[in-house]
Amino acid sequence: MSEFTFLFRGRETSPSAEQMQKTMEKWVVWFKQLDSAGCLKEPGHPLEHTGKVVKGKERVVVDGPYAEAKDVVGGYILVEASDLNHATELAKGCPIFEVGGSVEVRPVHRV
């Protein structure tokens, strides 16, 4: 078994309360599936969409990230899967695609 990080990008920009609730329920269902399959290594957290970015040797601090809404990382989890293909299959169940988002599947690099 190997570890993978799922980075979630993109979100619904102005969801109604009802949409929010539906989305959250879908996430719960997906998490339960991952967990009961023994694939949820760390349930991670969603991230707020604003923050600060610290850059360069000068450690310049800017507000950010100012990427397009669809490119901002909105959260992460750690998944355990047999290989990259398996992990990619798992990612396909994520409800984020319904709101036009994407999942980046990245094997954890063991140094």
Binding site: Q21, V28, F31, K32, D35, L40, P43, H45
Partner: protein, 377 residues
Amino acid sequence: MVSVLTRIFGVHNLALAEDVVQDAFCRALETWSFRGVPENPAAWLMATAKNRALDVLRRQRTAMTFAPEFGRLLDSEWTIIPTVEEVFEPKAIKDDQLRMMFSCCHPRLKEEAQVALILHILCGFSVSEIAEAFVSPHSTIEKRITRSKQVLATSKKLIDVASAVETSQRLPAVHRALYLLFNEGYHGSSPTATIREELCREAMRLTSILLTHPQGTVPATYALAALMSLDAARMPGRVDASGQLQTLFEQDRSKWDQQLVREGMSLLELSAEGSTLSEYHIEAAIASMHIRADRAEETDWKTIVSLYDKLLVIRRSPIVALNRAIAVAQHEGPERGLEEMANIGNKDRLIAYPFYFAALGEFELRVGRQAVARDPR
């Protein structure tokens, strides 16, 4: 509220659940005294408890383990809110109360401890209120509840009410506890009428919750509910204007609650399904015999005596035997009643039961032995 929170925190964290509820009440007092009581205080309290629960879960999730049933859904911000929201749904709350009801009837707890625990956790009675209801010293009840909670906390999880095996095993104990709870209110020793009425109401409320559950919807539960309704229907007639207890013969039967009578009768019909005849069936049938008589003189004592005969087979208790003797006296005269009373086994257990001497005195009086009636000892 404690039942709901215990479901989230896990039964081993019962104390934490109680703290959170306590905290919600304290906040309510603070806020309400400044801003006035909100329109829906119950909902306000629930919302406050929910937010406090979220705080606790977030702060303690690394240090503590909560209910295993949720796996790691409580560990992550992805899932914590919808999971907690779901537990606080009205339908889920009802299930939580069922779960807690079954969990309180732990086989390692004595019946009186189960009843005290149900009153404390499910009905929100304080230790002093329970002490008042049972006319027991505060310290006795406190010890009883503390010990019971420890037993409860050692059980790994709450009873799964979806599991037919677990629930059906404990169902008789739950019936019994609800029956005792009701009886404590109906015949209870507490001098405070309001507390006794509340005990009856709570017993009826919990029984009706039990009737919403597929495993709880059995003839015995219907019979228990019927018995409670039919007895409760007669409550308004039991005391006269000055608050004195009235015997069945003196009661103003027009004061009986017809709504409850109707409910009780239809519950009794529902209980008639299947082949099981529980003690609750018989007691409900006896209660219905009294209800059916428009006047005390029209009571069908013959049937009542035969019902008591059946009840004695299931539950051999001197109190049942005493009630039977009283029915015999009505049917065949006071001499026969006295005979039956003399034959009661384990009579010494009735010494502390005030109705024993009341009945004895009454029959002696009716056969004309005033002197004996005055001091039947």
